[in-house]
Symmetry: C2
Subunit: 296 residues, 2 copies
Amino acid sequence: MELPVIQPGELNKRPAQTPIFSKVGIVGLGLIGGSIALAARELWPAALVIGVDNKDVLETAMRLHAIDIAADDPYVLAEADLVILAAPVKQNIELLADLDDNVNQPAVVTDVGSTKRAIVDAARSLPPKFTFIGGHPLGGAAKSGLENARPDLFTGRPWLLTPSTDGGEAIVKLSAFVTALGAQPRVVDVATHDRLLAYLSHLPQLTASALMKVVGHAVGAPGLTLSGKGLADTTRLASSPPEIWRDIAATNADEIGPALDVLIAVLQDLRRDLPKGDQLSDVFTEAAEWRRTLKP
Amino acid sequence: MELPVIQPGELNKRPAQTPIFSKVGIVGLGLIGGSIALAARELWPAALVIGVDNKDVLETAMRLHAIDIAADDPYVLAEADLVILAAPVKQNIELLADLDDNVNQPAVVTDVGSTKRAIVDAARSLPPKFTFIGGHPLGGAAKSGLENARPDLFTGRPWLLTPSTDGGEAIVKLSAFVTALGAQPRVVDVATHDRLLAYLSHLPQLTASALMKVVGHAVGAPGLTLSGKGLADTTRLASSPPEIWRDIAATNADEIGPALDVLIAVLQDLRRDLPKGDQLSDVFTEAAEWRRTLKP
């Protein structure tokens, strides 16, 4: 797949557009939720962006001009026609249960979580006034949190959508929304999503954190002063927040588990073969070939 | 440890110095050997830089003005007063065996390999006209090979030295040589070196290659187009050349093996704990703390 080259900042130059949704409610203003809010306010001055989070985060969001309306209670979503759940996965699932109490009118509901089967299952109990479409913007930045949010975070990146019915008008509108944000919408089925992400994202994350723990524990702070770019790159993901990953692991354990088993088996093969190095040569050669297909 | 901030290019501005060694022989003109050659020629126009490698590499080295004298046979080292072995570890060890046939006068001999016990052991058989001091410049670039060599590659980076005797004048001169290259010489004992590097470098390398193989094999080229910066960072080391790493693994198997065992045990704990996530929270929290002490 060729990704189009869109320069950061290009989003800012676009003329104001007719809003696709007039009241966009975002629950959870972290890196992803905050970046959606910033982009939506720039793109559609006529739309209202409603942010739900705790009071500290809302203060930051108001200071960054990321939202029009702020509340620490989802009652403020009453008139939203798009609700984006951008909290950790299990919180998003809990929020779904209360949605009917908080949102009074028909709305498209989506999320931005890294696993999809659990929330899509939960969304089957929503009343018919809601159309739920699972969503997952890929990529993101190395650093999490609202203070690292940027309106061009999604530029040129895939945004996976997992509609559970044919979606009708809702999928068309949500696709237009994420396209306006600079992303490339792609429809995938939920099972494929969770299997793919187990390998592309969840396994690298667990590996990076495990490696950093093992190396730090073994060599200590003085030893780490001798480390170079190699260790820094390989463990960059280890800065990720535990609370997000606990939910991801729990809601995709049946896919991440087998992926971990395969990695453990390869590491065990390498370990047995260290003095000879035949297995090492095979693994390194295949790995270098795959690595060439990724960006530097 | 605070590393001094020396800007790239600063090396070029330094005035020509009296050579510390008058004839510097470098066997193996890859990233490290090539960068030493480029720096030595800039720093000491009065010294001769002698390069030994195969004919293709030597042609490139001459074109890059990295060396004064080129040959594909170590006989050209006859008058060298510093010999730097910069081939893969096992080749360096083989080269030691022939050194007395090739070098006619007293010389300081060093290497730049990532394991030290094997070559330091082998160097004990050298005749007394040679003083061997193991060496290991840390850091380096993401890409290997002479075409990525740069005279400022070592700027601000540690250069570990493992003298096997008290070293005398040789260690003073070699320290001055690597300091002139911009590096920070640090003396460590060979066993500590090999244990530290098993964790800081060898374990991350094996992990990155194993992960890239597993992910590439599982999702294939179309799946990889959906990958982001996280996978790219975590697997950057997987581009490393197998031939170098085969030798490193073989000559440090007894240290890398136990390090791999610890990592495998942590991954197995995480795997068992996926649905609950208690272990995950602990590992992620400790890993994030260690990661904060590294460069971004």
